[in-house]
């Protein structure tokens, strides 16, 4: 394991006028580590993720990423071409709604191949082989490769989105409620798949969710947010089994037991 964190977040603050989006958030993410961010709606977790992934520009703070070529660099100070290049190579973003992350008018194979072609792959046969390989890894039958995402079920669309994002081996994946809107059995399979891929590829990930079961299964560490502030962070089972902050206690106890 290397001795520099993959991602260092320092004092990220984003306000919407007078309202706080997220305030002075800081953490380190190490290679191969999965960080969960939980909190209720409006707690600032999506704002935080947007700031980290470069979709929003924070008002203050630094996001330092350990790039392959030049070592740790402040992502927010990068030029736009560099940041977008990072977004196509070392980073990936899985949206809550697959329709935001997929091209609905383009076949499954084209969706998976887009990132490859974006970084210069120009051999149809190889692109298709890799697309087939990835469809197989996310449990989509190979004969669906020329179907459009519209013809897929919600769970398949989400798995396709994951394949599309992981196809060129990113090192850091941002996930915004990856299991939102799926029924429980499909959720379970998706989580199983994600856990396998994360372990197998040694991915680091930042997962935003309101579902404690998701972080219990996937995340090594957990950050609990409320009103834009981080109220508690620590190892996942430590936070979930022995919550210290009043809000975390409320959150943990409000999960339905069946």
């Amino acid at each position: 394991m290397s001795d520099t964190p993959l991602l260092t977040v320092e004092g990220i603050t984003k306000t919407y006028g007078g309202r706080i989006g997220c305030a002075v958030v800081a953490f380190d993410l190490w290679p191969g580590e999965v960080m969960g961010i939980v909190g209720e709606s409006g707690s600032g977790k999506s704002t935080l993720l947007g700031c980290l992934a470069g979709h929003l520009s924070p008002d203050a703070g630094r996001v330092v990423f350990d790039t392959r070529a030049d070592g740790p660099r402040d992502v927010l100070a990068m030029s736009e071409p560099e940041r977008r290049m990072l977004g196509r190579t070392d980073w990936a973003f899985v949206h809550q709604n697959p329709r935001d992350g997929l091209r609905m008018g383009v076949s499954a194979g084209g969706n998976v191949g887009e990132r490859l072609m974006a970084v210069g792959a120009r051999h149809y046969g190889q692109i298709r082989d890799q697309a087939l390989d990835w469809l197989d890894r996310v449990e989509i039958a190979g004969d669906r490769i020329d179907d459009r995402p519209r013809q897929f079920s919600g769970g398949m669309q989400q798995r396709l989105q994951i394949a599309r994002n992981l196809v060129n081996g990113p090192r850091l994946v941002f996930m915004d409620e990856p299991t939102g809107g799926l029924d429980v059995s499909v959720q379970a399979r998706l989580l199983d798949l994600l856990r396998g891929l994360v372990r197998q590829m040694g991915l680091s990930a930042v997962i935003v969710t309101h579902d404690l079961a998701v972080v219990r299964l996937l995340a090594d560490r957990l950050m609990v947010m409320k009103g834009g502030h981080v109220v508690e962070q620590g190892l996942t089972d430590q936070v979930l089994d022995d919550p210290q902050h009043a809000y975390t206690q409320l959150l943990v106890s409000s999960v339905l037991q069946v």
Binding site: S107, G113, M117, R122, Y124
Partner: protein, 288 residues
């Protein structure tokens, strides 16, 4: 002459268009916005091309107008008449005699020479438009040279049809930088875009964009390593002039499956026939 200003447009407008043209020539393949004017014809009939032609014309010019290769179809005839009336310039149907050629969807078969200007009418100048509907995003993609998406389109073609089925408006890369829509010319004409001694100007009136390929510019058609670009045409010789190297139109001649293939470039076909070439369906020579 008439009461119109030379070539219909007022001098300030022509000046504005020439500025856009200069910028377009300086940055090959880059789409330069310009303040397109209302022209006395509907959008889609070549308002962009007409404005570019008007800005380029001088009283000494000889103008040729072609529509799908033909000199005698409605669009070509009406635009030619328009400039005859408003500019009083000489007109011709001979490619080699023209100094300015306005074209819709074809490049003449006769190789162009230095000093000639070829003006294209362009319906949709943005090659990425059907993949990415947001103009802000496509401009950013051009600026940052993010052209992976163009290959997604070609990938889809192969996945669906087994080959790159795009047969017109085939995307090209100009001088290793901008990806450009060559207007809806057949891909048969794509190789002629590259290295031409003539100046090629593109005008899109409704979309308000002008772009250009300066003389002797490298233009490469996009493709995959294992599915290379192919300039295709109907595998027949012309039925009137017998040429098997020119781009052909298929003409249905009856309701019993009868058809003939003729050169789409009428000037090319006529000059070959004048030189004595004959095709399968040429009228029999009069023995008398």
């Amino acid at each position: 002459m008439s009461d119109y200003n030379f070539a219909y447009l007022d001098e300030q407008t022509k000046r504005m268009i020439r500025r856009a043209l200069l910028k377009a020539v300086a940055v090959p393949g880059y789409q330069v916005p310009f303040a397109s004017r209302e022209m006395p014809m509907p959008y889609g009939w070549g308002t962009g091309g007409v404005q570019v032609t008007a800005a380029c014309l001088t009283p000494e010019d000889t103008l040729k107008v072609i529509d799908q290769g033909a000199d005698d179809t409605t669009n070509a005839v009406s635009i030619r008449k328009f400039f005859q009336r408003t500019a009083g310039v000489a007109v011709t149907e001979r490619t080699s005699e023209a100094s300015v050629i306005q074209t819709r969807h074809r490049i003449p078969e006769t190789p162009l020479t230095e000093g000639q200007i070829l003006v294209y009418q362009v319906p949709i100048p943005e090659p990425l438009r059907f993949l990415e509907p947001r103009e802000t995003e496509t401009r950013r993609m051009h600026a940052l040279e993010e052209y992976g998406l163009m290959h997604v389109k070609l990938y889809e073609d192969i996945a669906k049809n087994g080959a790159i089925a795009t047969s017109y408006a085939y995307p090209v890369k100009v001088e290793g930088r901008y990806v450009m829509d060559p207007s809806p010319i057949p891909k048969f004409d794509n190789p002629k875009l590259s290295g031409t001694p003539a100046l090629q100007l593109f005008g899109a009136g409704r979309e308000q964009r002008i772009y250009a390929i300066p003389p002797h510019t490298q233009v490469i058609s996009l493709d995959f390593e294992d599915y290379p670009f192919e300039a295709t045409k109907a595998p027949h010789p012309c039925d009137l002039c017998g040429d098997d190297g020119s781009y052909l139109d298929e003409v249905i001649t009856d309701d019993a499956g009868g058809r003939m293939f003729v050169c789409s470039d009428t000037d090319h076909c006529e000059s070959r026939r004048a030189a004595g070439h004959r095709g399968r369906m040429s009228p029999k020579e009069n023995a008398a």
